[in-house]
Symmetry: D2
Subunit: 279 residues, 4 copies
């Protein structure tokens, strides 16, 4: 297998995919940028906002493309929801609600280096909010608890959190995160507007339904992100390749990664100070 | 309490409601008809077609109104379905499917005097088919089994039966009956047409849903006819009273009772002969 | 019709129902209390917390029963949800989400004397939160906008608002209110716990479903509170009568009214100050 | 590209996939069988029962494996339903209902050589019935109409048909076929048993739901067999390859093809004679 240097030096390589551990992302992005490669990097670029800004400056100087892995944007249901919003199906969007719960917490060792729930988990929901709202959030209110596992609290993190975002025009967005469900991966969005309301529900494991004296039992949601977002990952890579080959615009950029991180940092500050934080 | 004679002789009595056992219906209808009263009678008028015809002749001679208790026509969901069909929402109706299952069989003593599943239970579905089809069935194919309780078979009846009706223009209607479910009263209709398909689902006991590792459990259907058709019974009586007071046309007549019985008799003949029976 | 004085002086009157305009509630309660009558009063007792406290002191001195009209507690679906929570079906409750949207705003004249969205509309959701959480909220974060009708904003009120409540043990509750939907009355609750999640969905106008090339269309929710809570109002009165006749405990009290008002006032303060407010 | 003779002579070829037009199937199967290859053939083997029997005799003599393409057996929802039936989840199976409707009729040219609705379309449902019932049907009652397109009738075929199958123990199975829907491919199964009822619903294009004054609109079913059974086709080939490589038993055989054809022929006879046909 080629070494990293050999790969970056190889003129046959058009693009680099970075899916290593978070602490290596920024440095790998910079190396690839200097080598003139198009770059795909899994989120986050870095847990530190200043490090992200420095990395993005390097990318800008190199003039290369950088796509960040916000996989959920490519989920067919969420993508359809956004297309419908953009087409005005709900009229003016007024309220957004994002529910996002994992089936179970990651290992404690991962929690400790993850940057915490807001930077590691809710960052996806911040990106989704930005993807669906037609404008940037300007204010954030956060509240959080450790309810699932006391060890997570002992490690300085939370496992249950809710956030309210508000945009300049007053659109309100509620996000709800938990590190644990009893029924699988819970990924739902509701967009309430002046002319109608759109909901993207969970994707079930199947359509089987069983009826008896205990009720009507339907199948539960797909278990976790690998199952739920399998198709999204495929589409994400297709979009990367198309953009690199055709020169088309990338669907996500380093700026998206930075802005989601800013919202995560603001959430932490809101939890700490008990105040609405302006962003 | 007034005796029957006193009640029928009382000029303050405009209408008579007959909800006694089946073997008394025809005679009570005739007495009330001769007394010049408007009549509501629970189905069936009689289990014997010739007795029904004689009774209806008496009613016709007396010139009184007779409404027969096909309660399901007044169920708000089924009534809405029919209104939508009449308004052309599905275009031309092509196929109809009626599912009708009781939570549990009646007592064997009742089974023995009931006239059998086709005359006692499926008669409601024959009436519903006639209510929804824009034309009369002309051919019937039936198949039946005793699967729920062997004692029902020993009593000469069946507990599971399916029927296909066909109209002159070729519309096909499937009916499915069982004397037993594990989940309550199953009362569903699907009307498939050239421009769309309408379905009236079961009415659940509530909207509560519980999610855990076993799936997503919704509430089961209302238990039996008293729960499911409570509103229908209320509307049915309102319609009777309105018709008697205003002189408006009755929503059901003795002829409806006769035609449903003819379909029940034809089903029995089809089961016995293994042939399509013309009606 | 008896005058108020005659009614209160009549020993045959056991209980008084107050359903007049809000500004008359406290004074009527006090008069009835002094007359020794059991009292049912529609919420709110008064828009001013101190006036409510004074009124409740009079009721306490008189030693009469006071039930406050939080109708939603008697909705069969929400009542079942609470019973299931109390029975431990979801294990430990961790997160609660209450969605509550009206089909359309009330007249502006009503808005102006209503006390505002938090005291007039969300007060029902505060009561529902208290009804379902096993402990009192201790902290509240609110955010609000005027998105539906600028005239509501001009009148000093909001029409869209979201709130996060937190209990002493860290349970998080999100509430979402809007004065307008395109599809009727939206009244849903989700209770997420360690062992499972319960959801009480909307009650639809019926079960009819229509399928064609545009999708599968189901019926929308019951239009507004009179339709949705018809059964709840009936049960509410039954509970009042039973309590008065049997001496049983009332399902709601003046204290419930006061506590919900305190949460409404705290929401207003949170919106004004941009801070989490302790209660 | 290799000629057919070269391919069949090539010792590196283990198995042959036949997906050509129906009139070539039997002859190609026989050639492959004589060459000692394992064979996968799309249904039907032939439209004539005697030709199928002759072909299967050749396969038997050659001692090769023959799998027939009843793709729906490999649909994950239907496969799960069968597993649940076999595990006794519904107790004793009593009634089966199979709804199978195409979005639109095939070209008339295809209709004319298709063998007709029963042999071309309902044959899949006959196989599904055999797959799910624990015993063979012994009696069949069929009724059919031309409602969708008069040209189909002019070509001697029908486009709407319903069938009732009965097994030796009395289990009743209803099948409903139409060549046209307004909403896509309709593929549903309901299995009603003594202890519960299982339903496999349609697979929708997505989870998006839109609510406004017209109702709650969900997404329609996947359009046709290529979309709905994409995963089934993949699994079907996996099962073939596994069976050829490991020597494991094939999931479908030539006998399944023959038995489904016998049921199709019996349906035609029932329509023609108006009688229940024993099989």
């Amino acid at each position: 297998m080629a070494t990293r240097e050999a790969a970056l030096a190889d003129p046959a390589v058009d693009a680099v995919l970075i899916a290593s551990s978070t602490d290596t992302h920024a440095e790998l992005i910079e190396a690839a940028a200097r080598a003139g490669k198009a770059i795909f990097c899994e989120k986050p670029i870095d847990l530190d906002r200043h490090r992200v800004e420095a990395c993005l400056a390097t990318v800008a100087t190199a003039g290369v493309k950088l796509m960040v892995g916000f996989n959920r944007r490519f989920d067919p249901n969420f993508a359809k929801l956004r297309t419908a919003l953009a087409a005005g199906r709900v009229g003016r969007l007024e309220m957004l609600a994002i529910t996002s719960r994992d089936p179970s917490p990651p290992p404690l060792a991962y929690i400790k280096v993850s940057g915490g729930l807001f930077r590691d988990m809710m960052i996806h929901d911040f990106d989704m909010a930005r993807f669906l709202l037609a404008e940037e959030p300007v204010e954030i209110l956060a509240s959080a608890s450790c309810l699932v596992d006391a060890a997570i609290g002992a490690a300085g993190d939370v496992d249950s959190a809710v956030v309210t975002l508000k945009t300049a025009s007053g659109v309100l967005c509620q996000i709800s995160n938990s590190r644990r469900t009893s029924y699988g991966y819970d990924q739902r969005i509701e967009a309430h507007g002046s002319l109608g309301t759109l909901r993207a529900g969970n994707v079930a494991e199947g359509t089987l339904e069983f009826a008896d004296a205990d009720g009507i039992v339907g199948e539960k949601p797909l278990h976790f992100f690998l199952e739920r977002y399998a198709e999204a990952y495929r589409i994400e890579l297709d979009r990367l390749i198309t953009a690199v080959e055709s020169g088309a615009e990338l669907p996500t950029t380093g700026d998206d990664a930075l802005r989601a991180l800013v919202l995560a940092d603001a959430s932490l500050e809101s939890v700490r100070t008990g105040r609405a934080v302006k962003v």
